[in-house]
């Protein structure tokens, strides 16, 4: 005869405890997974990289009174130049201007050698996404909004205006893209917003972005 008895739920009883540790193993598994999924996995997925030069947007905006568009320019034909070249930085930094050792390093290693800085870009979109900075202008958005330039930029980009160093660049080990690369749902915060239709040229049609 089998010594163990089955309870009404069909579970073998052993001194009043449910077999297999009751609900505990399930909870342990759940918690382990949650910890892995929310804390360990993201850390594993991304490699952390710092910019080749510690760059302070704050110094440039507050002390030098500059605006985003002075370095991140739209060219005459409407294309976006993106990050400034060493030559354009050298318009001011032809020689060391301040006491920051990083500036001195930039001048010595890049300006004087004519080398381009391999800046890490946080938001490169894949080539199947057509994005025009010219179409997302302050003039267009401020028909209704009341953005400052840095606020408009920060709708999509990390808000670096007040930071003394550029954020860490998290590179996805699988895709190679940065963690901050915008996903389509983020574009759709504006593109799928019906309040924008008829007021701006915004549309959520596929062909607007995917040529």
């Amino acid at each position: 005869m089998e010594d163990r008895q089955l309870n009404s739920s069909g579970c073998a009883t052993d001194g009043g405890k449910c077999c297999g540790g009751g609900i505990t193993p399930f909870l342990v598994g759940l918690v382990v997974s949650l910890i892995f999924g929310w804390w360990v996995f993201p850390d594993m997925l991304y490699s952390k990289k710092e910019q080749p030069i510690r760059f302070s947007h704050k110094v440039h905006m507050e002390s030098a009174g500059m605006e985003c568009k002075q370095c991140h320019v739209l060219r005459e034909d409407g294309t976006f130049a993106g990050l400034p070249s060493t030559a354009s930085c050298a318009d001011c930094h032809s020689d060391v201007m301040g006491s920051d050792p990083e500036e001195a390093r930039f001048v010595n290693e890049y300006v004087k050698t004519g080398k381009e800085v391999k800046w890490l870009v946080y938001q490169i979109q894949p080539d199947n996404v057509f994005f025009s900075h010219a179409a997302h202008s302050l003039d267009g958005c401020n028909q209704c909004h009341d953005f400052k330039e840095s606020e408009l930029c920060a709708q999509c980009h990390p808000d670096v205006a007040n930071s003394d160093s550029a954020p860490t660049h998290f590179e996805n080990k699988l895709t190679g893209y940065s963690k901050q690369t915008m996903k389509m749902w983020q574009c759709e915060r504006c593109h799928a917003n019906e309040n924008h239709y008829g007021v701006t040229n915004s549309s959520n049609a596929c062909f607007v972005c995917h040529k």
């Binding site: 077999c19 297999g20 399930f26 598994g29 892995f36 999924g37 996995f41």
Partner: protein, 691 residues
């Protein structure tokens, strides 16, 4: 606490539930989908500033004026240049030019043929030494021949001057419309180069001349068509076309007269007869003779010869007579081999219509003066007939030269009776090709020298044949050569020096400067076009209609074959110099090439007469050659005629062209045009049998 099997399963269950509540699965799936698109061969956008280089295409026979768009200094695309006198649109060859820079059949370094027949790469110093040695043996007495595929460039002056210094006058251009026209114009007593002012005409009748595809500055012609027919408004110009196949010009024109191949001059004389009857006249001294000749071409006679019924002929004659600025353009459907008779008859029609040196008519354009003293000028060069000369060499009437230099020319592929031409050239001991691509002619040469492509070099275009104005356009490099190529002009100057000859210019750039100056052009300031236009014309006095020549030249016997042959030329399949650009392979239609088989076109009645159906495999043969193809039914071909797409059947180049289809030139045999002696090959016929 020991974990039993059941506990373990619970743990797994909890872990699974937990993992689903984290980004692990969902994020991984998303990332994997992105990762699958990260193939190395997917082209990446280049970031950088746009810049534009205005230039002119040296690769496209339309000599289209274009702008090259560069991103960060690298060319990415050829764009239209609406300000350019030869622009206003884009040709399918020019559109492919950036991609062709990277063509797999592009010459990357000088090559010499070794004793075992293989090519080996050599340095430029070795190549020039071989060239000098080879040319030394060809000194004196027409032992050197030059064949150029560039009809409009100053480069010809350097090559012909080198030949002259070597004691040779055997300099030739590849056959084209310009030679037929130059012969006809010369016979009429005209000065300069014939120009056609399509832009200002209100009625353009093209007889044979495929004006919107292969004749003259095609893109300028298309631009004139577009401007003359604004969308939604009444057209300011009507186009009529006469030819055996509903080609791109016929399909676009308001009127298409289907005529048998090789009967262009007959149609022109039939129209002349009707116009003279309606009162048209000409101050030409031989008008009476011309009138008598034209009178023989009654509508019935024309209908019998050309296949155009009398009513349609009369309707076109009336439209011509009614037009304020009519213009008749005659030529060959596929841009070559038409002889002088159609152009002569076409120009005579213009004379009857009062179109000589009139706005929207014929313009006599001055040639530019030579800038290389010993060179042959364009007029003289156009008089030399390559096909006739090769015929003489083949038959032994002329001695084979010791050396031939080919400049961007591919006669082994592009001349009539291509097989026989190849055999004739094999008689020449030393053959050199200056070329960007390893084409059929380069494959038959002893020394192959890479030249920079049009986008990589300074060059020029001086008034392409057909243009209604003097246009001098400079080709400007958009990038440095991607391969070890040298400008042919500078190589020729250097080689001439080593042979003890001074061509009178220190560098090719100096020759270009001098030519620009000769045309009154100045390129010292930045320009949106790098082109110069002049409205200079020569007087047209004492033009003769040459009924004596026409009466002989028009005596065309219908080919003694059951089916007439009509080659159909289209720019998208490239030229003999480029083959089909990979960029354009998708524009080759389904029933033009299938796999490696060529499709030829005939109408339903012709097919029924021959007992053929669509897709039947047939053999086309005549004494010149034979090949097999399949049948495509197309009602845009005149009865008893087979239309064969030209530009296929390469035996060189790359996977995009080599071995695809057949070369129609193998079925064309050149004959001498009575009265002018010019080589003609537009009246061919074939036997067709099921294969």
């Amino acid at each position: 606490m020991a974990l039993d099997r059941r506990g373990f399963l619970k743990f797994i269950g909890g872990a699974t539930a937990g993992i689903l509540a984290t980004p692990v699965v969902w994020k991984s799936l998303d990332d994997v989908s992105i990762w699958t698109q990260n193939w190395s061969w997917i082209p990446r956008n280049i970031d950088g500033a746009n810049s534009y280089v205005p230039t002119v295409s040296k690769l496209c026979p339309s000599a289209v004026g274009v702008k090259v768009r560069l991103v960060d200094g690298r060319p990415v695309r050829v764009l239209t240049n609406n300000d350019h006198p030869l622009g206003g649109g884009l040709s399918s060859i020019a559109a492919a030019e950036v991609q062709l820079l990277y063509s797999p059949s592009r010459m990357k370094r000088p090559l010499k043929r070794t004793a075992d027949g293989a090519y080996v790469g050599i340095t430029w110093e070795e190549a020039e030494a071989i060239l000098v040695e080879g040319l030394k043996k060809a000194k004196g007495g027409d032992k050197l021949a030059v064949v150029s595929g560039d009809e409009t460039g100053t480069i010809n002056e350097l090559f012909t001057a080198l030949a002259a210094e070597m004691g040779s006058k055997s300099c030739f251009l590849m056959p084209g419309e310009a030679q037929s026209a130059a012969k006809a114009w010369e016979l009429m007593g005209g000065e300069g180069q014939v120009g056609y002012d399509i832009e200002k005409s209100d009625y353009v009748l093209a007889i044979g001349a495929n004006v919107l595809e292969t004749w003259g500055p095609v893109i300028r012609n298309r631009h004139a068509f577009r401007v003359g027919r604004p969308h939604g408004e009444a057209p300011a110009v009507r186009f009529a076309y006469a030819g055996p196949v509903q080609n791109n010009t016929a399909a676009t024109a308001d009127v298409w007269l289907a005529i048998r191949p090789g009967t262009e001059a007959v149609l022109a004389l039939g129209l002349a007869n009707l116009l003279i009857k309606a009162g048209a006249t000409s101050p030409a001294a031989d008008f009476a003779d011309f009138k008598a000749l034209a009178a023989k071409f009654t509508p019935e006679q024309v209908a019998a010869q050309t296949g155009v019924d009398a009513k349609r002929l009369a309707a076109v004659a009336q439209e011509l007579a009614k037009a304020k600025r009519p213009l008749v353009i005659a030529g060959s459907e596929f841009g070559q081999g038409g002889g002088a008779a159609p152009v002569l008859a076409g120009l005579a029609l213009n004379a009857l219509l009062g179109s000589m040196n009139r706005e929207g008519g014929i313009r006599a354009l001055p040639y530019a003066r030579k800038v290389v003293p010993a060179a042959m000028d364009r007029k003289a060069l156009l008089q030399n007939d390559l096909v006739a000369w090769l015929g003489k060499v083949a038959s032994g009437k002329s001695a084979a030269p010791q050396a031939v230099v080919f400049y961007e020319a591919n006669p082994v592929y592009a001349l009539p009776q291509a097989d026989a031409m190849k055999a004739t050239l094999a008689k020449v001991p030393f053959k050199v090709a200056f070329t960007s691509f390893l084409d059929e002619t380069a494959m038959a040469c002893d020394l192959v020298l890479p030249v920079p492509m049009g986008l990589e070099r300074f060059d020029d275009v001086d008034t392409p044949y057909g243009c209604g104005q003097v246009v001098y356009a400079l080709a400007v490099p958009a990038l440095a050569p991607l391969v070890d190529a040298r400008p042919a002009g500078d190589v020729v100057i250097g080689v001439a020096k080593k042979l003890g000859a001074d061509l009178g210019v220190a560098a090719f750039a100096d020759a270009l400067k001098a030519k620009a100056e000769a045309r009154g052009a100045s390129f010292t300031e930045p320009s949106a076009t790098n082109a110069h236009v002049s409205n200079a014309v020569l007087p047209v006095n004492g033009i003769a209609l040459r009924a004596d020549v026409l009466s002989k030249a028009i005596d065309v016997k219908a080919p003694a074959f059951p089916v007439a042959l009509a080659p159909v030329a289209k720019l998208n399949v490239g030229t003999s110099k480029t083959a089909t650009p990979p960029f354009n392979t998708k524009t080759v239609r389904r029933w033009e090439i299938q796999g490696k088989e060529l499709y030829v076109m005939m109408n339903g009645a012709t097919a029924a007469k021959l007992g053929l159906q669509k897709h039947d495999r047939i053999e086309l043969s005549n004494p010149a050659g034979k090949f097999t193809a399949r049948v495509n039914l197309f009602e845009g071909v005149i009865n008893d005629t087979v239309a064969v797409p030209a530009g296929h059947g390469h035996t060189a180049f790359d996977e995009f062209s080599k071995g695809k289809g057949e070369n129609v030139m193998r079925l064309l045999a050149a004959g001498a045009e009575p009265g002018t002696g010019l080589s003609v090959w537009t009246s061919a016929g074939v036997n067709i049998a099921k294969a």
